[in-house]
């Protein structure tokens, strides 16, 4: 499997990596809500939150520039929405919208880049998210790269046979997708049989149980208080 940069980051060994996924997710929610409900002195607040998240990323030994660049994936669409606000005569809202969505993406990235996805999903399951859905998500993530590569191969094969965009390929593209669908379906059947052969009990086992320790509670308290206090201080000052 090709390495995905996020996957590599999430296997690190910093104090933040060791925290319970539930604590991290709860802290993330608090941060997002504090940010989403803020209206006053937004640029100042955004600067402070950027420092907070940047500090957290450095603490977690996640490459800072890489994380900032990756969070910038939200920018194309966000800048468009910001421009719409600006043109609509509300530049402050446009700026706020761009700042908020960038910081939210960075916050999500901070959690996801310090928690392997299976652990994060397991944590969500323990707080009551439907297991069926989470298992589907887990399988989706596992096979995302496999099926994507298969599609990539099909595309290369088509291109190497001189199959360009000009040669009226709407039906051919539909055929290719249908083949991809059939292959994915067959692969799912194979996976299912292999799982049955290995006595799949209907749920995933994780190595080691998740335990919510004192350190996790302390982290959660600190991580939940920090953004709230920063916002209160800035709103008092501004």
């Amino acid at each position: 499997m090709h390495h995905v940069v996020l996957e590599r980051w999430s296997r690190g060994a910093s104090p933040l990596h060791r925290r319970d996924p539930r604590a991290k997710f709860a802290a993330l929610l608090v941060f997002l809500v504090v940010l989403a409900t803020a209206h006053r002195a937004l640029p100042l607040l955004a600067g402070a939150f950027l420092l907070l998240l940047g500090g957290t990323l450095v603490w977690a030994r996640v490459p800072l520039a890489g994380a900032f660049r990756r969070a910038a994936l939200v920018l194309p669409f966000t800048l468009l929405a910001g421009a719409v606000c600006w043109l609509g005569g509300d530049p402050a809202r446009g700026v706020g919208l761009v700042l908020k969505s960038y910081l939210s993406a960075l916050a999500v990235l901070t959690v996801v880049s310090t928690t392997p996805l299976p652990l994060l999903l397991r944590g969500l399951e323990l707080v009551g998210a439907p297991r069926f859905l989470l298992m589907v998500a887990q399988f989706l993530y596992r096979y995302l790269f496999v099926i994507s590569e298969e599609a990539q191969h099909m595309r290369s094969a088509a291109a190497s046979r001189g199959f360009g965009r000009r040669s009226g390929g709407f039906r051919a593209a539909a055929g290719a997708l249908a083949v991809l669908f059939a292959r994915s379906y067959a692969r799912a059947a194979d996976i299912h049989r292999a799982m049955l052969a290995r006595a799949f009990p209907g749920r995933f086992h994780t190595l080691g149980t998740l335990r919510f320790r004192v350190a996790d509670a302390a982290f959660l308290a600190l991580a939940a208080l920090a953004p709230a206090l920063i916002r209160a201080a800035i709103e008092r000052l501004a």
């Binding site: 993330l28 761009v98 996805l117 399988f139």
Partner: protein
């Protein structure tokens, strides 16, 4: 409308692939006003729970790999370009195709998983905006995409139904997203709304054409992939139901663009000062009594969703009863 999200990384790039938001129009954290995302999150939780239960009843747990792999298929399908005209191409969005092959509940679950993975791993969509995105695409999008097929999938109008399903699924989720942005107070002039609606219409028609082409190709490979709905539902009743759903969505949009009656009333009568007294000192957003514009807007939004829900439910019930009779 389409946010490219690559695997760009400093060290080594993963596949040189671009993953545009594959299930339609994503809303990011920070786009919606607090009452709107809170209301949509609250509405999404039971809806997703219900859908998961239905899917679970239909697919025993051992079939989970199928749903996961089909979600991966929808992701990968972005890489197959469908040429349309000179230099432009589209790609499959997938809601209606999944509904025609796996059934609506399972398709909804697959789309939920896709939207969650996109928000977590690909920075495409937000966590607080998960509720709005799930309702727009995984619930209403799938229902709207399946409805025409459910009604006319067994009649000579089958091809039209598949086409309409693809188009409707994209159109309904796009209209919902647009309406939520408008309710949140994103200032959009009529021309901006018009241009977006035109773009949505074009991509909706494209999605209809792609869905139809793929379903036909699938049936050529193996007919068993595509579900066969019961034949001969009432045409008039179906058309009526479909019109109701479309009208509810469009009406929702128009309600969200309507001028703020109570707000202007407040300005003219000097009620503004009174209202300011009730705001909490704690936060920038107003957490005050009834009559606040956001409360009204949220109520309007929830009413809109309730109407769409109700329309779908009533049509479903009546059609089911007819089917049994």
């Amino acid at each position: 409308m389409v946010a490219p999200a690559g695997f760009g990384s400093p060290g080594g790039t993963f596949l040189p692939l671009v993953l545009p938001c594959c299930v339609g129009v994503h809303i990011y954290d920070g786009f919606l006003s607090t009452p709107v995302w809170v209301a949509m999150d609250v509405a999404a939780a039971p809806a997703v729970g219900y859908m998961v239960r239905r899917a679970q009843r239909q697919f025993e747990e051992s079939r989970i790999p199928l749903l996961g792999v089909m979600g991966a298929f929808v992701f990968a399908a972005q890489m197959i370009n469908f040429p349309v005209g000179i230099g432009t191409s589209g790609h499959l969005v997938g809601g209606a195709l999944l509904a025609c092959t796996l059934g609506p509940a399972a398709a909804g679950v697959v789309l939920c998983a896709i939207i969650a993975i996109q928000a977590l791993v690909f920075q495409d969509g937000g966590i607080l905006a998960l509720g709005p995105n799930l309702i727009n695409m995984a619930i209403l999008g799938v229902l709207a995409g399946y409805l025409p097929y459910y009604l006319w999938g067994g009649t000579p109008w089958r091809r039209v139904a598949i086409f309409a399903g693809g188009a409707l699924s994209v159109m309904v989720s796009a209209i919902m997203a647009l309406a939520e942005l408008l309710i949140s107070g994103v200032p959009m002039s009529r021309s901006v709304v018009g241009v977006s609606l035109t773009l949505f219409l074009v991509s909706a028609l494209l999605e209809g054409a792609i869905t139809l082409a793929v379903v036909q190709a699938l049936e050529a490979i193996q007919p068993g992939f595509v579900r066969q709905p019961a034949a001969g539902r009432s045409f008039a009743r179906g058309a009526l139901g479909l019109a109701a759903v479309v009208l509810a969505a469009v009406g929702f949009l128009f309600a969200s663009t309507a001028p703020d009656g109570i707000e202007s009333l407040g300005h003219t009568t000097g009620m503004d000062h009174v209202r300011r007294l009730f705001t909490t000192p704690l936060a920038g957003y107003q957490l005050a009594l009834a009559g606040e514009p956001w409360l009204r807007k949220t109520a309007a939004g929830l009413a809109g969703i309730a109407i769409v829900y109700g329309a779908c439910l009533l049509i479903g019930r009546s059609v089911a009863r007819r089917g049994r009779a």
